[in-house]
Symmetry: C2
Subunit: 484 residues, 2 copies
């Protein structure tokens, strides 16, 4: 059985090692109770780095799970990342690289020579290798690509030919595809044979794609279906013909929505001619889902990328751009107040109360806006139910407007002994709540129709609407009613 | 080969049907180009419902993918959901139920008699059945459970004994566990045998758990590793000993972070004694990840659940609670303005400019807050790098504060020909930006340490800080410098 033994040897090399780390990673000397690296541990690594004791650094980092090695790179300061990368370059596996924050990966890669980057890239699957290389400046990118094997280089160049954040850029080019009309037994034999060549199969795969002679997918088999089927059954009797195909040009947001909607573990990526060119797996899509869902809060606030690892100058620029735009809207709102300077000079209490009306409108508008943006992003709000949603928001705005009007109007009338002032602020509050509800849904829905990301641009318009209408309705009513 | 034929028959029944729907779901008569149901299609279904034409409704819905059936329930109005459920009760598969929005599921279930709910629940895996039943009121819950088979009932009661949003409630109780010391061949034979009993194996599974005699997990095998290994190899030579175990009491947020951090497809859930009691699979976890990541924007705005399907009274209550709390902080800020009424009466231009200072501070504070809350939620900001992050935010706040001060201070000095007024508003702008930066990070970090969800409560404190400090610094400096 010499040949079988040989296969075993090679198989073992390719399969995950046994032994390894304890099951229970939580609450040990390196982790706190929420499975994050302890500050003391990070400080020991930093101290060893500062002492230049590379072997101490290596010994500390070596027992960590790859995801924790990635976390460690994020937790040390920028200035320590390149030294850390040099000390533990052996440990920079595919899993570490794919878990690293984009900015941190750049800090790390900048420190390594082209041949070292190429060496790491070659052991990665294409999608991870692309992540590693795409952010390098063109000169470094060329240097790294030149150091790589022609086949790997071609795969990466092909990925880079697709726009960022599309399936073509993000997909794995490694997958298992087999012809129709083979049996389950043939498939299992094929996989066992291929396993002897470490590069022939992807490290992990979750389905087998069945393709026609033109390499177009005709069906898919979950591995669990194959494992419970007798050898002599044909694959076409096991496979499912109905499958979700991802166009190579699909945006990552679209891909994430498909994975969520259809509960996918992996999916085939096809080119314009419908040929199978890659696959996407859920472990990569999970990061996209989390990113896309989490970015709403950041975009609505104008915090840009919102990444605490982003170089500080980029952050300042992103946030300042937004603040300057908002300065424009604040000045517009101030000019409304300016129209009523005489009234304020006569009756300064108006200036005391006016921020309440504009502020409450702003809060109500932000609520509606957050809900609308989320519903649009998850495809829950479509042209089918837009009018129902608008009706719903106006109902809520009326109810809350009246409740707040009674509270603040009644309070004002009592505290200042001025029922007219109470009536004016109460009425202004209702008007501004309706403005907030209307703007909070109409602005993002309109922007979405115009194909502008509603999370990025809505807040400016909504805040302008509630500020301007808040000041105008309150001060205007005060003048109209002869209060001032 | 009679026995083999029998197995095939049963296997086929259990495996997905071939044939079925076309691959390309996008842009057909039912879907728009973004894979959402077309308004015309939904209107046709609603029209048929209103005509009471159940068979027309069934014919329209029958060709849809389960995920689209779920979407359809969300897109029709509340009033149509129960009639739709009655018309298509045959089509309410596990996939439909698990894809439904919580509130929509309640609308649907309320319309069905207990035996019908029990019938649907019995074909579901435990985790989906629990979702169906957990929101029923106790009387309906008891009625449905009474209609179920004892074994299914016991599984659901066990799940309900764990708190909501914990692994014990969310896990699947169906999984594949095998003893150590069997070979790959033994395992494949076992799975083929079990496959003849439709209830013996979960519908889908992605790994095999290897357990010791006390049913504690000792290792895990991805199905792809089994498929590429010769039959005579022992499972312990293929399995990975190092695996992520989820405690049955783990909160869903923790589970979601583990799946993301370790790139898991599925994972074992263990009880206090370390025994395997269930599994969680990534298709369920993606919904949690998306929900947890997306809720930041909603919580920060005080929009509660932020679900457009939530009954309107619950929405009004959630949002009004938040608005009333904010009314308190708005009144506090107004009282600061009240201290300067005399100054404003003398120099009304102060009232015109003061909202700019408080508003810009609010914007800057919201930016820092959104970034901090996201970094805390993703475990990127831990006690290890808190001080570094605070330093970073104060640097950004200083830079942006100075930039805005020059813009607005210079502008004010020029437009109103009053350099002192320009200097006052510029200085106040710097002070308020620093306040915003400090509060935007210190408030959520402190709340997190106190184990209060920073996304829920931070915004009130931060806005109060920027409003109060904005008015106080600007008006105070104006008085101090003798402007008014």
């Amino acid at each position: 059985m010499a040949s079988d033994d040989l296969i075993d040897e090679e198989l073992r090399r390719d399969l995950p090692e046994e032994g390894g780390k304890p099951d229970d990673r939580v609450d040990d000397e390196r982790h706190d109770e929420e499975n994050r690296l302890k500050p003391e541990f990070v400080r020991r690594v930093v101290a060893a780095l500062e002492d230049g004791d590379k072997s101490e650094v290596y010994d500390l980092v070596e027992p960590l799970h790859p995801a924790d090695v990635a976390d460690l790179f994020e937790l040390v300061g920028r200035e320590d990342r390149s030294a850390l990368a040099e000390a533990v370059s052996d440990l920079l596996s595919s899993e570490v690289i794919s878990e690293l924050n984009d900015y941190v990966r750049e800090d790390m890669i900048d420190a390594l020579p082209a041949y070292a980057v190429a060496e790491i890239a070659e052991q990665l699957e294409t999608d991870d290798a692309v992540q590693l290389i795409e952010d390098l400046d063109p000169r470094d990118q060329a240097a790294v690509l030149a150091e790589m094997e022609p086949e790997d280089r071609a795969a990466i160049e092909s990925a880079l030919s697709y726009p960022e954040e599309t399936a073509g850029r993000l997909m794995q080019r490694e997958f298992v595809a087999v012809p129709e009309h083979i049996t389950v037994g043939d498939l299992i034999d094929f996989l066992r044979d291929e396993a002897s060549d470490p590069d022939a199969l992807p490290t992990d795969f979750f389905e087998i794609f069945v393709v026609d002679p033109a390499h177009r997918p005709v069906g898919t088999c979950q591995l669990s279906w194959i494992l419970r089927t007798p050898r002599h059954i044909g694959l076409t009797d096991v496979m499912k013909r109905d499958q979700t195909l991802i166009p190579v040009t699909a945006d990552q947001e679209e891909v994430a929505l498909m994975f969520q909607k259809y509960g996918l573990i992996s999916a085939a990526v096809v080119d314009e001619a419908g040929r199978l060119v890659g696959q996407m797996t859920v472990d990569d899509v999970v990061h996209i889902i989390s990113e896309e869902a989490g970015e709403d809060a950041l975009l609505l606030s104008g915090a840009g990328d919102g990444d605490i690892n982003e170089p500080i100058l980029l952050t300042v620029r992103a946030r300042l751009t937004w603040l300057v735009i908002n300065l424009g809207t604040a000045m517009l709102a101030a000019s409304v107040v300016g129209m009523f300077q005489d009234a304020i000079a006569k009756f300064a209490l108006l200036a005391v109360l006016m921020p309440i009306v504009s502020g409450m409108g702003g809060n109500a508008g932000t609520q509606t806006l957050a809900v609308t943006v989320r519903a649009l992003a998850t495809n829950q709000l479509t042209s089918t139910n837009t009018w129902r949603a608008i009706g719903r928001e106006l109902t809520i705005a009326s109810a809350n407007g009246v409740a707040l009007a009674i509270l603040i109007g009644g309070g004002t009338a009592l505290v200042f002994g001025n029922p007219l002032l109470g009536a004016v602020i109460g009425t202004a509050m209702i008007i501004n709540n309706l403005t907030a509800g209307m703007a909070g849904i109409a602005v993002p829905v309109t922007l979405e129709r115009l194909r502008v990301d509603p999370a990025v641009s809505s807040a400016v318009f909504v805040t302008t609407a509630t500020d301007v209408m808040g000041f105008f309705s309150f001060l205007g009513l005060a003048v109209l009613t002869g209060l001032a």
